[in-house]
């Protein structure tokens, strides 16, 4: 196949591109320039999307011996990922920008352009398995598994995706990079959100949304127990950084239970009030078989690197519900619920949907 390898400048995508060459594909490397101003994106060891990353990617492509280009995707990235991220927080939800980037950029804008230019598929360094059966499975390296942020991809998107790293652990990928003389072998992993330079999500949102002071209210008494400078900066389940004026009567820690953008109110309460047994979600995507018309038993994951719980999942038109066999704390609207079928050959992604409550 003629394939386009998205190369971030990190070790994973470099090895993925090299493996695609070994597999006999005709590979072209592309680095996506996502920042309107690369200097504002994170620099240094934790980098992503910087000029240095672009050079690392180019150097890796040269070592692998494939053509390399930079594609300017900044406009699309800002519209579909950054602006969406801000709007979701403003609406009281907690988005996952990596998932959105896969859905809208890597396997939409980039894939569409690649297909138009005559490529058959896009190769990335995601840690997930995608075999000839077309099923998306967890990586063998469960600590690095990225199937959660890929579960939003549709059948058509998966049909044009290649993930060469699913059968390797991160340690194996690094060792392989060193064997292949790729200078990025020891490059530290990127973390957090690439477009928030200092990792300060709250500061980033304040810069975009302005400061709008409001109340922090106790769920059980209705009493005002603190103030905040913008409800959007909070996440359901959050405990740290609440700056409450007074302790709870029972002296136990309090958590964010809900965010109400309309009244700019953050509601807090005890841990057990966070417990959720029924998860509602919208916009289901189902790739692990036919869309189920009856409830099915499976496992669900409710946030990246979150616990996996047994559940019964129903898909009904544009909605999806998951009845959890045991309650889970800190389920945030805006995150994805991903349904998995346990499988010795790697748990299979059945489908996903966006949590509404």
């Amino acid at each position: 196949m003629k394939v386009l390898a998205a190369m971030s400048g990190g070790v994973d995508s470099a090895v993925a591109a090299a493996r695609a060459v070994d597999a006999g594909h005709d590979v072209t490397g592309v680095h996506l320039a996502l920042s309107r101003n690369p200097q504002t994106f994170r620099t240094g060891a934790r980098g992503c999307c910087t000029l240095e990353d672009s050079r690392d990617a180019r150097r890796a492509a040269d070592v692998i011996g494939i053509p390399f280009y930079v594609w300017d995707m900044a406009e699309r990235f800002h519209a579909d990922v950054v602006d969406d991220f801000v709007a979701e927080y403003a609406a009281g939800r907690t988005p996952n920008p990596c998932l959105r980037c896969n859905e809208k950029i890597k396997f939409a804008a980039v894939l569409d352009r690649a297909v138009a230019l005559g490529f058959d598929a896009v190769v990335t360094g995601h840690h997930a398995r995608l075999g000839p059966d077309g099923l998306l499975r967890r990586s063998v390296d469960l600590a690095k598994d990225q199937s959660y942020v890929l579960a939003v991809l549709t059948r058509a998107q998966l049909d044009r995706a290649v993930f060469p790293l699913g059968d390797a652990t991160k340690a194996e990928v690094r060792a392989e990079a060193a064997r292949r003389d790729l200078a990025v072998a020891e490059k530290p992993d990127s973390h957090d959100i690439c477009f928030i330079a200092d990792g300060d999500t709250r500061g980033f949102l304040a810069g975009r949304l302005g400061e709008t002071p409001g109340k922090v209210v106790d769920a059980s008494t209705g009493a005002v127990v603190g103030s905040h400078t913008g409800a959007y900066a909070y996440t359901v389940g959050q405990r740290r950084g609440l700056h409450l004026d007074r302790p709870a009567p029972d002296g136990r820690p309090r958590y964010v239970l809900s965010i109400t953008p309309k009244t700019n109110t953050v509601t807090v309460g005890p841990a057990e009030a966070l417990e959720v047994s029924l998860v509602r979600a919208t916009r289901p995507v189902w790739t692990g078989g036919d869309l189920p018309d009856t409830p099915i038993g499976c496992e669900v994951q409710l946030r990246a690197h979150g616990d996996v719980v047994p559940a019964t999942v129903r898909v009904d038109g544009d909605g999806l519900t998951a009845e959890l066999r045991r309650p889970v704390r800190g389920v945030a609207a805006g995150q994805a619920v991903v349904a998995y079928r346990p499988d010795p050959a790697g748990d299979v992604v059945l489908g996903s949907a966006t949590i509404t409550g």
């Binding site: 320039a33 101003n37 690369p38 672009s54 352009r113 230019l117 005559g118």
Partner: protein, 391 residues
Amino acid sequence: MAYLDHAATTPMLDEALAAYVATAREVGNASSLHATGRRARRRVEESRERVAAVLGARPSEVIFTGGGTESDNLAVKGVFWARRAARPDRVRVVSSAVEHHAVLDAVDWLADHEGAEVSWLPTDAAGKLDPALLRAELSAHADRVAVVTAMWANNEVGTVQPVAELAAVAAEHGVPFHTDAVQAVGQVPVDFAASGVSALTVTGHKLGGPTGVGALLLARDVAATPLLHGGGQERDVRSGTLDTAGIVAFAVAVETAVKGQQEYAARVAALRDDLVRRVREAVPEVVFNGDPDDRLPGNAHFSFPGCEGDALLLLLDAQGIACSTGSACSAGVAQPSHVLLAMGADHDRARSSLRFTLGHTSTPADVDALIAALPTAVDRARRAAALRTPR
């Protein structure tokens, strides 16, 4: 493999390469006083005389440098500094909107860091400068102008400027005139004295010499403050141990290219005209950019409506065809060409542009390869560009 990017760099001439290798085997610092040094100095000075002879300059007007970018910086900054030092109110720089970045950014740097006032002369739709506009500028501000700099021929669209007329206007007002002739030497007739310019940039690797060596021809009555300080080589204007082998090979290449210019230009222009005709047949909507007559013989520059140049480049590259979008990269991302924008093109047309440049190794087979690959590439690039339409 069809190499259609000779304006980026062109293969070394066999005689230049042979001269380089032979000289590089010899030890010798041209500044040393002993026999070995004298031998190196002799090679350098013979080379200086050869370059001067074919370019219409005196040997003492030839300053060897590390290439085009250095020569441009030395001319623009060095002459600015020297003229301002002589008269502090000379702070104005006159340049053109279509200069190479080596001039453009040097002028911008003077504006940002040295308080220079800049007057950018516009061009017509073919990228050509109008001497009357320079006359108007100098009539109004000649007392304040430190230096005028305008290229001999444009590196992107190939338009050749009326350099002698521009230089005459500058001379009328007693203002030094620098020209970046990197793309011109060996392609069109270039005579330093006859052109009336005060300073001229030439580089090796665009005419069959090595990369990293070039010269600034600088009239003896024009002072330039050095960029590099040190051993005082090259009239004290350009310190640094002379690259004897590079200079010898450069001189051989300049001499060969200039002596063969007429024959070369006729052959390459015929091939270029064939390329242009066949591209127009294959893609009737193309827009041919630059001046159709006053033009470098090897340059063909087009806009492909509805395409992005970088997509075309990728697709042609995959078919073994090397060409250029001509645009500079800012932080790794291609920017629309300032030359096309200065010629009045909108962003879409600027981004849809591609430059094909022929040179001394070009053959009809190169053109055949391009024409074979182009229609499919244009089709695909058009489909890809259509995806960018706002949703």
